[in-house]
């Protein structure tokens, strides 16, 4: 065989490649995005963990404000008014009050196509940045256990839709004051913004995009699904931004409700 014909590449690393020792020749500050990601995610996870195990300051009885971190509140330790779906979990310190839903939310985000990219890069350095060598000797990607489980993303998406419905219920319920009257305060707006952002993030999911229409080969025969697919596609383009935005709105909503609940300040009221 002559040189320019197809040759089977030998599997050992570096076979015939240009002998360049440097791990990367990038001159820009390529490490900033993965570092920012890592810092952002660690900060959020720390905050969320602390809050989930605090088991207090999660509900404002006067205005029915329930933080999404405790929704639905199903532990025997929940304040009765906050538990819209009954209580049945034992009240122990190591079990979060919303222990039924939190794992699914965590898994939804952990298997999300955006977060995967983010943590594969920022934590696993696989790769840390484009054209920067990763430190691992072997790589099998998502071909085997446990990472093959990433393919279950769409189930967590289904769960996330249900949980978003619960969050929506919470946000609507919060328009009722403790006295059973209609009322609006700043907290309502916070809850509302959070719920809208959550829906946007959930709907922009890649699995959703596929289920809604991406699976089809003949859009022309399914005009309604094509239209929906178009909307989801547009949202999907902002999936990363929405992922970060919802981390922000979740933490802010929770913090706001904690602050009001703990009496650090009172909720400014617009109506009642």
């Amino acid at each position: 065989m002559t040189v320019a014909t197809l040759r089977t590449t030998s599997p050992e690393a570096g076979a015939g490649r240009a002998a360049i020792a440097a791990r990367t020749l990038r001159t820009d500050r390529w490490w900033i995005p993965p570092l920012t990601t890592a810092v952002g995610l660690i900060a959020w996870i720390t905050y969320a963990t602390v809050r989930v195990f605090m088991q207090k300051d999660y509900f404002v009885a006067d205005y029915h404000y329930l933080t999404p971190f405790y929704s639905p509140c199903i532990s025997n330790g929940c304040v009765p008014e906050s538990a819209h779906f009954g209580t049945f979990l034992p009240d122990v310190w190591w079990l979060p009050y919303a222990a039924l839903t939190l794992p699914f939310l965590l898994l939804f985000r952990m298997t999300c196509y955006y977060y995967r990219k983010a943590y594969y890069r920022a934590f696993w350095f696989s790769p840390p940045a484009c054209a920067v060598a990763e430190p691992h000797a072997k790589y099998t990607g998502e071909t085997r256990f446990p990472l093959i489980g990433q393919n279950l993303h769409r189930y967590f998406f289904y769960a996330a839709v249900l949980i978003s419905l619960i969050n929506t219920y919470d946000a609507i319920k919060a328009f009722e004051t403790g006295d059973g009257e209609f009322g609006i305060g700043l907290g309502n707006l916070v809850l509302l913004v959070n719920v809208v952002a959550l829906w946007a993030y959930t709907a922009s999911c890649h699995s959703c995009r596929s289920i809604i229409g991406g699976r089809l080969n003949h859009f022309s025969q399914h005009p309604v699904r094509y239209k929906l697919w178009g909307w989801v596609t547009r949202l999907n383009g902002k999936h990363m931004q929405l992922a970060w935005l919802t981390l922000g709105t979740l933490a802010l909503t929770d913090f706001y409700i904690m602050a009001v609940s703990a009496g650090w300040f009172s909720d400014p009221r617009i109506i009642n």
């Binding site: 002559t2 040189v3 320019a4 014909t5």
Partner: protein, 630 residues
């Protein structure tokens, strides 16, 4: 000499652009063991640069279209110098060739009823160009490439070897053809990568090497366009025709200097773009020649109405055939009404919405954004003529693509005749498909006709050719030493300035004198380094071809004392019917000089003449030719 690897095939295709790949597919489908030899990687050929589309009278957008209208447009565009049989075959077969591409997996833009969409283009009466945005050439090459892969998959299933019956030799250059008596017997080539020679023994060789644009300084052509097929044919004893006709595309980029010449697709005008000078005037209305007065609008209002109601209005003069538009731009710039960088303005930003521009002209938007920092949705482009296409090429039999040497075939840009003195946009891609297929079939039939009487390759010929190809490395015998890059630049400057878009006798003579000098200096070229992927050496070999072809162009240009299509003589500014029926034929003498001789065209068949009004024919033909028609 070292041992040279020898391979045996039924058909060798030189060139892996549209014509070459289509020819190879046909030869392989007819059961011939086929090799494709390409200077570049597989799928990179210059065909990818074709933007606008592929002309075929499918009638999907306007059902009045048919092969006869397409034939008429082609003849008109070529000023009736075309080989009428080629134009006829082309117009008749183009639709089938396009539809066939869909079965290979091509995905063209669609009409609302799901057919292949067709767009307007200069010189075409109806919307006729099948297209994919403005990257039709890429679609074509990728489709043909993938068809070849699919044939290889079939062969793999049958034999366990992908390359059993069709193989691509990528980054491999043919330097000479060999003959056994009067018949083609094979080709000598070398791997660009290693510099090692290899010999192909084959009774039939199809040239599909494209054009010659790299002999000019401002060109839309890539480095491959060095006239290899033209030169190989000459050296093998075949003849070239129409070499004086070179198409300068009216719209090439003019700024920045490093991208000068890169094509701005005609679709910009087809979709509504207008040409204006520095005074803001749509100057094309001043340049409608008499022969086209009936088909083109004379007011801006009528021209603008045409985009929405083509049946009741005449077309805008921006869509005149390319030669007319290129000359008009040239005149405007010469008259001092050009842009700061020596072009004119081409504007779509004021004519179409930004989203429409991005949808219809994505690669133009991208190209200007990335290369010139110009947003064509907001500001006009600056454009000027660029050397784009050579109408001339190997003289072939229209039905089989056979050249005058037994076993030699040619298709695509490197063959001549089809487009006459000027090619219509969109007729190139269809030409590739129609005549690529015909050359493949012609070569297969020729191989069949040989039976066991195959020509044999002579070892002596191979050794001579091999020595010649490495001569530039020098044996200490050369007197001076010339750098191939310098010579190439001088050649490009000479051709551009002296045998360019507007020509005169003294200048062409000056060019011929300079070419003589360059040829002598070409003998003294010495290249540095070794044979592995050595661009200096590659250029030295290409230079030999460019010099030969440039001489043909200049010698034919000085003889044709009229202006027609891609040949404009300042000293003979009008078209002369006495020249219409005359072809200028180039051949190579044993002493290395070029001969150009006149040859009478075969008269146009009567039923084809009947397709035209007699007063139109009267503008092109002599009274004697038309006999009783007038």
């Amino acid at each position: 000499m070292t041992e040279i690897e020898q391979l045996s095939y039924d058909v060798i295709v030189i060139g892996a652009g549209g014509a070459g790949l289509r020819a190879a597919i046909e030869a392989r489908e007819q059961g011939k063991k086929t090799a494709i030899i390409s200077k570049s990687l597989f799928g990179k050929a210059h065909t990818v640069m074709a933007e606008g589309g592929c002309a075929a009278s499918m009638g999907n957008v306007n059902d009045k279209d048919n092969w006869m209208v397409h034939f008429g447009d082609t003849m008109r565009g070529g000023k009736f110098l075309n080989n009428w049989r080629m134009a006829e075959l082309h117009a008749k077969e183009a639709p089938d060739r396009v539809w066939e591409l869909e079965t290979y997996g091509a995905v063209f833009d669609r009409t609302p009823d799901g057919k292949i969409s067709q767009r307007n283009f200069g010189g075409h009466t109806y919307p006729r160009l099948a297209h994919v945005g403005d990257r039709t050439g890429l679609e074509l090459i990728r489709t043909l490439q993938q068809k070849i892969v699919s044939l290889q998959q079939e062969d793999f299933a049958a034999t366990g070897d992908y390359e059993a019956r069709i193989k691509v030799f990528a980054e491999c250059t043919v330097t000479d053809l060999t003959k056994d008596g009067d018949r083609i017997s094979g080709a000598l080539a070398y791997w660009r990568e290693s510099g090692r020679h290899l010999v192909f023994e084959a009774p039939a060789i199809i040239l599909a090497t494209g054009g010659i644009g790299k002999s000019f300084k401002v060109t839309s052509n890539s480095w491959e366009y060095t006239g290899d097929g033209h030169a190989l044919a000459l050296r093998a004893g075949a003849s070239l025709i129409n070499m004086e006709f070179i198409q300068f595309h009216p719209t090439g980029m003019v700024w920045p200097p490093s991208v000068k010449g890169i094509l701005v697709t005609e679709s910009v005008r087809g979709d509504g773009g207008v040409l204006t000078n520095s005074e803001g005037k749509r100057f094309m209305f001043d340049y409608i020649p008499d022969v086209f007065k009936a088909q083109y609008a004379t007011t801006e209002e009528e021209a603008d109405r045409w985009y929405t109601d083509a049946d009741n209005n005449r077309r805008p003069p921006e869509l005149l055939p390319r030669d007319e538009v290129a000359r008009a731009i040239n005149s405007e710039v010469k008259a001092g009404r050009g842009t700061p960088h020596g072009g004119v303005y081409l504007d779509v930003s004021s004519r179409l919405k930004a989203e429409v521009i991005i949808k219809k002209l994505p690669s133009m938007h991208h190209q200007f954004k990335e290369l010139a920092d110009v947003d064509i949705t907001k500001e006009p482009m600056e454009v000027g003529p660029t050397c784009h296409y050579v109408m001339g090429g190997v003289e072939v039999d229209p039905d089989t693509g056979a050249a005058s040497v037994d076993g030699l075939f040619a298709a695509g840009e490197c063959s001549g005749g089809m487009h006459g003195s000027n090619r219509l946009g969109g007729n190139s891609l269809s030409d590739l498909l129609v005549f690529g297929r015909r050359a493949g079939a012609g070569a297969a039939a020729y191989v069949d006709s040989l039976g066991s009487q195959r020509p044999a390759i002579s070892d002596d010929d191979v050794q001579v050719a091999a020595r010649r190809s490495v001569a530039a490395f020098g044996d200490g015998g050369q007197e001076g030493s010339e750098n191939p890059y310098t010579l190439h630049q001088e050649l490009q400057q000479t051709m551009n300035d002296l045998v360019g878009i507007i020509r005169k006798e003294e200048e062409i003579q000056e060019a011929l004198d300079k070419l003589e000098g360059l040829k002598a200096r070409g003998e003294q070229v010495v290249v540095e380094g070794h044979r592995q992927f050595n661009p200096g050496w590659h250029l030295a070999l290409d230079l030999r071809n460019m010099l030969l072809v440039s001489e043909c162009v200049a010698k034919a240009a000085i003889l044709r004392t009229e202006s027609r299509g891609g040949h404009t003589r300042d000293d003979y500014p009008t078209m002369d019917a006495e020249w219409r029926h005359v072809l200028l034929v180039c051949t190579l003498n044993a002493d290395g000089t070029i001969d150009v001789e006149r040859q009478e065209q075969i008269p146009v068949r009567n039923d084809l003449l009947d397709l035209f009004e007699s007063d139109e024919l009267g503008k092109y033909f002599t009274t004697a030719e038309l006999g009783g028609r007038i």
